[in-house]
């Protein structure tokens, strides 16, 4: 599961550190204690920054780095598509062989395909992505599908 891409992101994380944002969330993975604090900044519906800080294993750290690399600069709708594709891959229990179309969407993130075989680690890989989804819902209010969560 430890693809070079993952190790690279782990050792040299992209965009790490907390910067100015429209919303901040703190997510915890209770089964292993991984934590992330994540902020999103939007320019209209364009993601102008995703900044984060946290502690955790290589998978959760690398995943946050890949997220930053992939999403910053994207339109919300494109980012959502990436997030959903990543979620699909991670929930595939190792049964999904990423095709070209998926690789095009996920870029470096396809390296996590192998992680999906390890149920205990899937949550690590998803931690920052769930935090991003949540923060986006907060930043953009009712605009996001996850509006319920915000109102809770």
């Amino acid at each position: 599961m430890y693809q070079d891409v993952i190790l690279d992101h782990y050792k040299n994380p992209h965009g790490r550190g907390l910067r100015d944002g429209d919303a901040e969330v703190h997510h915890v993975n209770p089964t292993c204690g991984d934590e992330i604090t994540l902020r999103v900044k939007y320019d209209g519906t364009t993601i102008s920054d995703v900044s984060y800080e946290g502690q955790g294993c290589s998978i959760s750290q690398a995943s946050a780095s890949v997220l930053n690399e992939l999403l910053v600069g994207k339109e919300l709708s494109d980012a959502q598509k990436i997030q959903e594709t990543f979620l699909e891959l991670m929930q595939s229990k190792g049964r999904l062989e990423p095709d070209d179309a998926m690789e095009e969407v996920l870029e470096d993130a396809v390296a996590f395909a192998g992680v999906s075989k390890y149920p205990a680690r899937v949550k690590c890989a998803l931690l920052s992505w769930m935090a991003w989804k949540d923060a986006t819902a907060q930043a953009l209010g009712g605009a996001d599908a996850d509006a319920e969560r915000k109102s809770a």
Partner: protein, 418 residues
């Protein structure tokens, strides 16, 4: 050999159950008619238990090693099987307990510690019935004593059915919970769910159904039942001992407080306070009965491969035959519905003045295993003015020949004490 329509191929099925080959008392073949107490275990379930301990044993959740992942997949896979078996809308609604008794106590304790609108306290009422198993009486007596809530119940008619004539007085606006048995373990009665659920919903009371004697014997659909909670137990449905199930509606499981505290059921713990994992884990403190859940999953696979509708048809045919044959025995009085209609495959009876202990003992000498006593439903014995009953109960491997053996055995009992 007696042939009845709807019977299963018991010759093939009996080969799956090693214990049915046992020979007792110098040459008497075991006639096991104590299935309402516990069912026997097929080779398929024993093999899965062996394989678990020989190949995959590990503690579940949180492990990153192969065994832990395998054990977790097996344990959670069993949850999927149970969810499918009872047609649960979500696998997260299936809580593993140690037996049906724990499942029932779990609900009583959830409600005792709940916030409004679920909280049971001195201004509220609890409704059960007079035909409940002690495990669906004592938890409510304890809750009633400890909260001051009033405990009410439906009485029984002379022919062993629920007396629902005063349903509107029994279930009122004060009722928080109605808990009743789907199929009685002593009377065999199959109770009318719809009428009770409708009235409970009218007044906003929750409904808990004790399906301990139903889940093993018929298709069970928690959505069709429209209950809020359904409890049953593994050892009566070809599974191992040490495993029970509580199904509960998701939003209730989210709202209600935990019962046992400990590992597995937490989200995060500090010395000052803790938060809890989402259901079902919130209600599963400590290392769960892992192998037993996996064994229950195997039992469900086994039962499903035969088909719950076919098992029901088999038992209906046997019950009809048994009622007919038993009615022919002089001085025999069936306690419970006297026909095979709306009843399960457990038949209680008295035999003249002969005490059930003596009936059971003399049957045992012939290799016939029945249960005698109050069957953990003493209020039923009080209701019918009897000290105890003898109970014969059937399952998918039971045969008409075994019913014939029972009837012959009873003749012998009568002669012996006559």
């Amino acid at each position: 050999m007696t042939q009845l329509p709807g019977l299963l191929d018991t010759e093939a099925i009996r080969k799956d159950f090693p214990i049915l080959d046992r020979v007792l008392h110098d040459g008497k073949k075991l006639v096991y008619l104590d299935n309402a107490a516990t069912s026997q275990t097929p080779r398929q379930v024993i093999d899965v238990l062996d394989e678990y301990y020989e190949q995959h044993n590990a503690n579940v959740h949180r492990g990153v090693h192969v065994l832990a992942e395998e054990a977790t997949a097996l344990y959670e896979g069993a949850r999927d099987k149970v969810a499918a078996f009872v047609n649960a809308p979500s696998r997260d609604e299936v809580i593993f307990t140690k037996n049906a008794s724990e499942s029932l106590n779990l609900v009583a304790n959830m409600l005792g510690w709940a916030d409004e609108p679920y909280r049971v306290d001195h201004e509220t009422e609890i409704v059960i019935t007079e035909m409940e198993h002690h495990s669906n009486i004592v938890p409510w007596q304890l809750l009633s004593q400890r909260t001051g809530a009033k405990l009410k119940w439906f009485g029984l008619t002379d022919d062993g059915r629920l007396d629902l004539s005063n349903i509107d007085e029994v279930i009122t606006e004060k009722t928080k919970i109605v808990s009743f048995v789907l199929v009685s373990n002593i009377l065999g009665t199959h109770n009318p769910v719809e009428a009770i659920v409708r009235r409970a919903q009218e007044v906003g009371a929750l409904v808990l159904i004790d399906a301990s004697q139903a889940a093993p014997h018929m298709p069970l659909d928690v959505q069709a039942l429209q209950a809020d909670f359904v409890a049953f137990t593994g050892h009566k449905m070809c599974g191992p001992t040490g495993i029970g199930v509580l199904w509960g509606r998701q939003e209730l499981l989210e709202d209600l407080p935990p019962f046992l505290g400990g590992g597995e059921m937490i989200e995060t713990v500090s010395m000052h306070s803790s938060t809890y994992a989402p259901a079902p884990h919130k209600f599963e403190a400590g290392t769960p009965p892992i192998a037993q859940a996996v064994g229950l999953g195997a039992a469900i696979d086994y039962l499903s491969s035969i088909g719950m509708d076919k098992i029901l048809a088999h038992e209906n045919a046997l019950t009809e035959y048994a009622v007919k044959r038993l009615t022919e025995v002089p001085d025999l009085r069936i306690i419970g519905p006297a026909t095979a209609e709306d009843r399960g495959a457990a038949i209680s009876f008295t035999l003249g003045d002969i005490h059930p202990h003596d009936v059971g003992q003399v049957l045992d000498e012939q290799g016939i295993a029945v249960r005698v006593g109050h069957h953990c439903a003493r209020p039923v014995c009080l209701r019918y003015g009897i000290p105890a009953t003898t109970r014969a109960s059937f399952y998918l491997y039971s045969t008409p020949a075994e019913i014939d053996a029972l009837v012959e055995g009873l003749e012998h009992v009568r002669n012996f004490f006559g």
